[in-house]
């Protein structure tokens, strides 16, 4: 019963959010759009990195690949096909990264993802300069802010649905075991590598699609714009603030931080990354499990 109420409530909120662009100005639609984008990114990030504790630093590598795919293909293919291509490339990249690193200790994965965005950025730049002779591309798609917003909202809803259903499935149980103790999980018959790979591919594909859907927002795209490392960083800090282990954690972290960053980047554009870094350090120190866990422990009266 409780679940069905929650679904009705979530559906109502979704419908409300979907009709919002009709009532609010274009500026606020833009804000809502960016926020939905980050909520999706943070939730997708936490889908894999939360339970496995494998910190992925490659969010923008996938995000950028999605956006760039749209930039390259948008004038030779119909839009749905472009999105499919973007998803396909995201899956392939996730498989390459996952198959080569997820069999090993977590630190190899972190290191691999750490430089991945820079690698992809440099390789794409090299390809454009030396092979196709184009630096910078244009995206001409007949989308307004609200069209992009609706697509993102749908993707966000799907992401939450996936995250929720994984949490209730056998995979979710295996994942919990894996996060607690990988060796024990493996001994209990959990195919550790396959589960990690599956989750990583799902999470990376969603991230790639967020990039692809947001691409028309820029109109002009070049590698240094879409492979901006701040995206990885912001996703991480949002998911951590809310708590990467909970379904609603990334959402709780993403909404206030997005508004704060929106204000900060307008007010202190030069000091943005310093403030971001200091805030991140503070979160790691004060609330390593996220703000929701902090509330829980405060309510229970324990000191942590």
């Amino acid at each position: 019963m409780k679940t069905s109420y929650a679904f009705i409530l979530a559906g109502g909120v979704l419908a409300l959010l979907a009709t919002a662009p009709v009532f609010i100005s274009d500026y606020w639609t833009g804000v809502l759009l960016g926020m939905t984008g980050y909520v999706t990114l943070a939730t997708a990030w936490a889908l894999f990195s939360g339970p496995t504790r494998y910190v992925s630093l490659a969010t923008v590598a996938f995000f950028g690949v999605g956006a760039y795919t749209v930039a390259v293909l948008n004038d030779i293919m119909p839009y749905p096909l472009v999105l499919l291509c973007a998803a396909g490339i995201g899956i392939t990249m996730a498989l390459v990264v996952g198959l080569s690193t997820l069999r090993l200790a977590g630190v190899y994965f972190v290191i691999f993802t750490f430089g991945l965005a820079e690698l992809v950025r440099q390789t794409v730049s090299w390809w454009e300069v030396n092979v196709t002779y184009t630096m910078g591309r244009y995206v001409f798609l007949p989308f307004e802010g609200r069209h992009i917003y609706w697509q993102l909202l749908a993707l966000a809803a799907v992401t939450f649905l996936i995250s929720w259903s994984i949490g209730r499935s056998r995979i979710g149980l295996a994942l919990k075991a894996l996060g607690d103790d990988e060796t024990v999980a493996a001994h209990s018959g959990v195919d550790v590598t396959r589960i990690k790979l599956l989750l990583f591919v799902i999470s990376s594909t969603i991230i790639t699609l967020v990039g692809a859907i947001q691409a028309p927002r820029w109109t002009y795209i070049e590698p240094s714009i879409v492979f901006n490392p701040t995206v990885s960083f912001m996703t991480l800090i949002m998911a951590l603030l809310g708590g990467a282990m909970r379904l609603w954690g990334p959402l709780v972290g993403a909404i206030p931080l997005f508004l704060l960053f929106e204000w900060l980047s307008g007010t202190f554009p030069d000091h943005f990354s310093i403030i971001l870094g200091l805030m991140f350090i503070l979160i790691v120190f004060v609330m390593p499990n996220g703000v929701l866990a902090k509330f829980d422990s405060l309510r229970k009266g324990s000191k942590l």
Binding site: L57, L104, W126, V129, L236, F272, I274, F280, V284
Partner: protein, 287 residues
């Protein structure tokens, strides 16, 4: 051909040097430091300022920057890392915490450098005199960089393998649980190892700045290369770091010379990928 070998060795020598620093931080202090490359870049800028504004030669700058970096890293360990170390339930938790924390530090250092120096390319001209050697011509600063890397690397190897102090460091690296049973203060050792690692990063930065251009945002690439060298050589292995550093320097120089300079990072990554598939414990690592 020979010229590329020498350039590769110069580059590889500096990689070996900084990787030795990183392997001390990761292997002994158990801190995975993602801001390592930004500390290298900070040292590059410090040398640049000392040389162009105050006329202090990079060699003399070493004597200022390296002790300063040792002190700063000691402070960083005491203030930021130690609470994490005492809070961590196990090695895995410390690894995740230190990754997250230093990822934040990375953005702070990068942000400060960007405000102070902007995002452009920086370099200065020091000892740019051609030296004839083995039938080719090498820039004096590159030769000096190679000599410095080799000398400092040799000193570290000597300390680690021939002194009591080095034995303590190696003991903690090998078995942090049993080291205290032999009366070793692991906390102090970790602190020292972290600070030495930071000092090595600064040394690498001073050396690199003598012959390469650098930008405020290049830290990520340096960290990446140092990490790959550490893994290539085997976690905690100093001889491994030296061999792997030289190898990576050669690979990079040859790719830049014969394939395309824009693909060096791709080449580095290919080496890394190959390594992960064939020998995940590194060239010198134990299974």
């Amino acid at each position: 051909m020979l010229e590329h070998v020498i350039n590769g060795l110069v580059l590889g020598g500096t990689y070996a040097l900084v990787a030795m620093g990183l392997t001390m931080q990761y292997g002994i202090a158990r801190i995975m430091n993602l801001s390592f490359g930004d500390m290298i870049i900070a040292a590059c800028f410090a040398t640049h300022v000392l040389f162009t504004a105050l006329g202090i030669s990079p060699i003399a700058a070493l004597l200022i920057i390296v002790p300063a970096s040792y002190a700063i890293n000691l402070g960083i360990y005491q203030v930021m890392m130690k609470p994490l170390v005492s809070r961590a339930a196990d090695e895995g938790a410390l690894e995740v915490d230190s990754i997250l924390l230093t990822f934040g530090v990375l953005f702070v250092i990068q942000g400060i450098l960007l405000i102070m120096f902007g995002g452009g390319y920086n370099s200065y001209s020091f000892l740019n005199t051609p030296v004839k050697m083995l039938g080719t011509v090498v820039a004096g600063n590159r030769l000096l960089a190679l000599v410095l890397s080799l000398a400092i690397g040799a000193v570290l190897v000597f300390i680690l393998y021939r002194t009591r102090w080095g034995m303590i460091l190696r003991a903690v690296s090998l078995s942090p649980q049993s080291a205290p049973l032999f009366g070793i203060d692991t906390d102090r050792t970790a602190r020292t190892a972290f600070a030495i690692g930071g000092a090595m990063a600064a040394t690498g930065g001073v050396v690199v700045s003598m012959f390469q251009t650098f930008t405020a945002t290049a830290g990520v690439v340096f960290t990446m290369k140092a990490l790959i060298v550490v893994i290539l050589g085997g976690k905690g292995s100093i001889p491994g770091a030296i061999a792997a550093g030289l190898l990576l320097g050669l690979v990079e120089t040859f790719v830049a010379a014969y394939v395309d300079p824009g693909l060096t990072l791709a080449a580095v990554y290919s080496v890394f990928l190959l390594l992960l598939l064939v020998r995940p414990n590194g060239l010198f690592g134990k299974v």
